[in-house]
């Protein structure tokens, strides 16, 4: 086959892959929306009762009934879902019952802080994890390798809550190097870039430490496996430099199994973000979602659920695409 035709075919295959994946994603989103909607509605309690809240302030049942009716909560569930879906398809996720603002606006405010945490942490985990993994595999059975192995074993066994609290204790309370929480120093002194970076250090470290070790272990194991393959021996026998063997042949192929971790990593980070946001009083999506569930703020719960699934789906999509791009067999099929 002509090389031109081959690449054209590859491109078409890639497009088809993307199209199918996108279709799958939409279906998943629909199922998630129905599932979350049903789950919330059949969970005991309703948002108006939660209004009274833990403050246990006195309200009259008649007043609450009026509010319930005004909010359309008396309608049948399928009617409410239909309404929600119709609006959602037009980009309107409704009004938060507790916060009394458009859900899209509330979420937009929280996306920034959450994605800053998750984004920085993801990049750091991949870069550091892959580097440690490669170095560790190449220098197998050296002191460095042992240190990495033991380190990642310990890292993997430490709960995020504990890591976070220990970092706060050590670096915020004892040494006073970094702030214990929040995004900026409040009052007149805070708000600069340096100040914002300082506030990022501990939460990002907490989130990264636990994620990083997974990447390290994966990369190390995968590279070691590839290095034992025949074609590596062939490449070396051909007289290729060790650098070329390692980077062009071995590492690239080892990435095939490493990129599949991307999908899992997104899930892990979304989960972890909630814990980290709570410890460091970080105004992110994880805390918002949990708060919304406790308050039975249906539209807000739906918004956060849809966004989180979208995020996780795109993580998997990204992993699929990266896998496709790296794997020639998948490309030409």
């Amino acid at each position: 086959m002509e090389p031109g035709v081959k690449s054209l075919l590859a491109a078409a295959a890639m497009q088809r892959l993307v199209a199918i994946r996108l279709l799958h994603s939409l279906l998943v989103l629909l199922i998630v929306s129905i599932g979350s909607f049903a789950l919330m509605r059949y969970t005991p309690g309703d948002p108006v009762a939660a209004l009274i809240g833990q403050q246990a302030r006195l309200m009259s049942p008649e007043d609450l009934a009026v509010i319930r009716r005004n909010l359309g909560l008396d309608d049948p569930v399928h009617v409410q879902y239909g309404l929600w879906l119709r609006n959602a398809l037009q980009g309107d996720l409704g009004y938060s019952l507790g916060l009394k603002r458009p859900v899209t606006g509330v979420i937009a405010e929280r996306i920034g802080p959450s994605f800053t945490l998750i984004g920085i942490s993801l990049v750091l985990s991949i870069v550091l994890g892959v580097s440690f993994g490669v170095l560790s595999a190449v220098r197998r059975n050296t002191a460095f390798d042992h240190a990495v192995t033991v380190g990642s074993f310990i890292g993997n066994s430490m709960p995020q809550v504990w890591v976070g609290l220990m970092l706060v204790f050590l670096f915020a309370i004892k040494l006073r190097w970094f702030p214990a929480g929040g995004m900026v120093t409040l009052g007149s002194s805070g708000g600069g870039l340096g100040d914002r970076l300082e506030h990022l250090v501990l939460p990002v470290t907490t989130l990264t430490l636990t994620n990083l070790v997974v990447w390290t272990r994966y990369q190390r194991a995968s590279l070691l496996e590839v290095l034992g393959q025949d074609y590596i021996r062939v490449a070396r026998a051909k007289g290729l430099g060790e650098r070329t063997v390692l980077l062009r042949h071995a590492w690239r192929n080892s990435l095939l199994s490493v990129v599949t971790l991307l999908g899992n990593s997104f899930v892990f980070l979304v989960e972890g973000a909630y814990i980290v946001e709570t410890i460091f009083s970080w105004p992110g999506l994880g805390r918002l979602g949990v708060e919304a569930i406790l308050k039975r703020d249906y539209p807000l719960v739906m918004g956060v659920a849809i966004l989180s699934s979208l995020f996780i789906i795109s993580g998997n999509l990204l992993a699929d695409l990266a896998y496709g791009a790296l794997n020639p067999r998948l490309r030409s099929r």
Binding site: A49, G53, Q54, E62, D63, N70, R110, A180, G182, L186
Partner: protein, 577 residues
Amino acid sequence: MTTTDDDREAGPTGPRGRLGRDLTDAGLGPAFDRRQVIRLAGGLGAALMAVPGLGSGAAQAAGGNRMAAVYAAIQEGQPGGTLIAAIPFDLWSIYNPLIGQSDAFIFDQLWRFDPNLVPIPRLAESYEVSEDRTVYTIRLVQNATWHDGQPLTAHDVVFTWQTMLKPDVNFPYKFALQVNGQDIQAEAVDDHTVKLTLPAPSAALIAHLTAPWIFSVAPKHLLEGEDPETSSFNTQPIGSGPFKFEEQVDGDHQTLVRYDAYFGGAPLLDELITRPITDLQARLAAFQAGEIDVNTREEDVIATEQFAATEGSTPYILPTPYVQQFTMNNADPVFADPIVRKAIAHALDRAAMVRTVVGDETYVALSVMGPGHWAYNPDVPAYEFDPEKAKSMLDQAGWAVGSGSIREKDGVRLSFVNQPWRDFERNYAPLIQQYLKAVGIEMKIETVPDYATVQEIRQSGKAQSLFFGSIDYEPGELHQYFHSSQMPPTGLNLWQYSNSEVDQLLEEGNQEIDVEKRKPIYARIQELILGECATIPLHVHLNNVIVRTDRVGGYPEPTGNWLGVLLAAPTQVYKKQ
């Protein structure tokens, strides 16, 4: 890990405690001394002292010297500075009194509670009540202004009143502006006089109007014709209170700045920043790291002492009128017999329970309201801890020990379910279970995840036993909880208590507006409710505050109540420069 309003992580875990000692070792300051914890069990009246910076002598002065002490603090205080306060729950996202979202800083009320929960004038300079107690003529101060400079007038008050009562406006406290379900009419007599016409006398009216979350005045010139649910006012509120709204980042902080033209005198502080930190460990860490000047609304002595171990801080333990109780469903066959309820009360060592859960048995509650309230009656039947007496009472009433060591009578087993959800309830439940087991009563614990769930169970009227609290500020609230007309599913008498004498007294209490005449009415109500052991008081709810007194002055004690206010006198607090 939960992040609900009043929920908190229990237990003395985490990186605390040692810090105070380490600082001492390093010669940086004195270790925390338990004696520094100012115990104010005498209630709110006595609680209103201890202005920091005045020396221990003044700090221990009686409540009568309060004004002098506050005055001295003001003189000592320098204007300026930023105060950062922490609260354990999320802030309102928006502000609009018309839909029940207001506070006592940005907005102002007609009255404000004094430390004994007696309403004192704020926007309302004075008021007169007609002979038949159905017409209130309220005179407003002349010099109050909105933060945009417009004068605050009677038309604002009337607009606020009428809008809140509209059926399509989601104001959740309409009941406070009604009597027996009928609207109270408001009209402006002139620019500074409001006339309220009541369908029938109401004792609680002024108290309801004093609660900042119920009736804060909203500006007519900015909100007329706006949809209160979606108005742009909600995120940039203009109030008339001592502080102006500056900005709010949800889940992170809110910044208020001084309103120089406040009619009651401008605050000393430049800025008041509030940080909502829902997690106890995170709050503690921020306080220990010096990022918080005032930590508010800690509910137990155990956590309060953890905070107070930070150098330079002073804890204030503040009992409230609110009493946490353990209540049994009177309509349930298990509890229909008052002997069973009384035996349960005798079986519980409440002093030990409160010591374990709250950290100090001083706060064991005797009645359905706390000792700080004017209507409090301490001379109610008490049920001392006496398991043998509990057993013999049950024996005599015919509850014989049956299978599995559980008592039974006429086919009814002395076994019931409890659904604890807040941390303190989850701490109480196993203790109660053990004490009851010892006298042959079984309590099964079914933990529920959150308030919304437990509320649904309770409102069905089928909850067998439950934890509940009363009262916020007004003894008339007892009507909702103990009057026989308030049964579930619509009412809040979830324990289905019914007593015709109590019903009658509650109605009388709601119509009598003279406090001195109301006192004996509520004293008798408490006596009757406790006499039948309709509920078992556990502890007086605490609303503790820990202040970095090395940095903050003029702190005259917050009122220990669920008022949603951080400070009782926000204008007098200052930052030491």
